[in-house]
Symmetry: C2
Subunit: 152 residues, 2 copies
Amino acid sequence: MAGRDDTQTRLDAGEAEDTIGYKLRLAQILAFRGFEQRLTDHGRAPRYLGLLSVIRAHPGKPQSRIAEAVALPRSSFVTILDQLSADGLIERRPSTFDRRVNGIWLTPEGETVVAGLMQEAQRYEAEMTRGMSAEDIACGLRVLQKLIDNLS
Amino acid sequence: MAGRDDTQTRLDAGEAEDTIGYKLRLAQILAFRGFEQRLTDHGRAPRYLGLLSVIRAHPGKPQSRIAEAVALPRSSFVTILDQLSADGLIERRPSTFDRRVNGIWLTPEGETVVAGLMQEAQRYEAEMTRGMSAEDIACGLRVLQKLIDNLS
DNA sequence: GCGATTTTGTTTTACATCGAACAGTTCTGC
DNA sequence: GCAGAACTGTTCGATGTAAAACAAAATCGC
């Protein structure tokens, strides 16, 4: 009778099921895709919202610093900035201190787009965490931060 | 003095910094890449270890069920199975009940490779979570599972 | 039974991402 | 000062991933 019992639930991962690495990846894929697909009419900004939020918090910082913040290789970052720049959301300005670096800035339009998307993100965050206690959410944030620290 | 204060820490994400969505993504990227790069001499298996663990726990299940378990589109899954099959880790066998489906099985070699990599994964898990209490780890697992449930 | 719908695995095509190599600039040690 | 090392942004080639369209097989509604 193999291959027959079609229960409706997702297949578990056996030994890997109780590991942070597995659940972390699965949760992230679902969260990221869900958020992106809910905002298909907003262009490329939703996919790179984290990145844009870093830029907003640190205007004028060099590309490499921002790429490092979101764990992106510098080479990948170039294409992404080209697109966001073509969409009128960000701007590269040559640094006055170091002729190698480009400072990255949000345009006024980028500022409003990011502000609007951050509200969407907060709504999405509420959906993702529905049914969790405030303590659990705080614990989740703490654990994720500790993972990031340990892996950096 | 913009673009000058080069502190050594990672740039924060401003408003997004305290959101699960942002930290979840960053942690997952770091965890996944770190694990993969530590095992460059093990071919493609480390990248697809989660997937292989699902197959091991549910031998003979159709491709679509397994793809769904790890949130992969069926079309992406085909190429991956082709590679894992060429590496001798898995095997497709036509189902006797439904002539559309291929049941997926680990080969004997696949079985030993996955068993070995799962030990590596447990070691990596310990490194990721070093400095965390058992309660925090359990809470992290619970939160991640709840996220997966809410997003499914 | 039988046509319409759904499901499964696949191909095709477009796009996203990464590593390696490169030129221009700055920094370091002396 | 100056040669070598390190850093920044970029290009290029290779690989990974995803959406859409397709054929074969099973299921549903009647």
